[in-house]
């Protein structure tokens, strides 16, 4: 897919583990893992908002378009 999710990069920058993020954004580990590995087909605005809030970043930091 042309859209790449850079969640792992942002998590590394903020030094937050998947477990911690899961607790902060109220998402299951499996769902976060789907998002991190790029298997997700869509992301809700509410989820994006929660992740941005937890990682203190912009949606553009998490999502990237590549050719």
């Amino acid at each position: 897919m042309a859209i790449v999710v850079n969640l792992d990069v942002m998590m590394a920058k903020r030094k937050i583990s998947l477990n911690e993020l899961s607790a902060m954004v109220d998402l299951t580990l499996s769902n976060l893992s789907i998002l991190k590995t790029g298997k997700a087909k869509a992301i809700r605005f509410s989820t994006l908002e929660a992740i941005c809030k937890a990682l203190d970043c912009q949606p553009g930091d998490l999502l990237e378009y590549t050719d």
């Binding site: 769902n31 976060l32 789907i34 298997k39 087909k41 869509a42 809700r44």
Partner: protein, 179 residues
């Protein structure tokens, strides 16, 4: 939440499907045995499955006999296979999570088999009509292809259901992968 009523209906359907499947297997088996006998012992042609007497047809034209008998044979085998698929589908169908690829494939297969039966029955019926116009007496065979139009209609309905099911699976998988 699946009601007890649905479970009961599915169990009843499963039993009915098994009974019909066994009946169709017996019919197909009987016809196959008759077919082999008609090749090896042509004098048995006057007393075929369900006391069918096709000796007149056999004596007039062996081609016509084997042609019409092949139609009967293939249609009964296809019907038995169709009910086998129905049984497989009913036994593996999980009413809590019905949308999966297996169920979709089975429904598609059912529609293909139903259409094949309908089409073959229709061709056989038209061929039988043609033969009857030439003076052949094959009224006894009509019972095997009397419901050709019903099968074609059913195939169309089942195919539409299969397509909707496929779309349902796509929507479900997209929904599951929306975080």
């Amino acid at each position: 939440m699946i009601s007890k009523n649905n479970n009961f209906i599915f169990k009843a359907l499963s039993i009915v499907a098994w009974i019909i499947f066994v009946g169709l297997c017996i019919e197909a088996g009987g016809l196959i045995v008759n077919f082999i006998f008609s090749i090896l012992k042509p004098e048995m042609v006057h007393n075929l499955y369900q006391k069918m007497d096709l000796s007149e047809l056999y004596n007039r034209s062996q081609w016509a006999f084997y042609g019409m008998y092949s139609f009967v044979l293939v249609i009964s085998i296809l019907k038995a296979i169709l009910f086998y698929i129905v049984i497989r589908l009913i036994s593996k169908l999980d009413l809590e999570k019905p949308f999966n690829n297996y169920v979709s494939e089975q429904i598609t297969q059912i529609s293909y088999f139903t259409f094949s039966i309908g089409l073959l029955s229709y061709i056989a019926r038209e061929t039988a009509k043609n033969l009857q116009q030439h003076g052949y007496e094959i009224d006894q065979l009509n019972q095997f292809w009397i419901d050709s139009q019903a099968f074609i209609l059913m195939a169309a309905v089942i195919y539409v259901i299969a397509v909707i099911f496929k779309k349902g699976i796509e929507i479900q998988s997209e929904n599951e992968l929306t975080i």
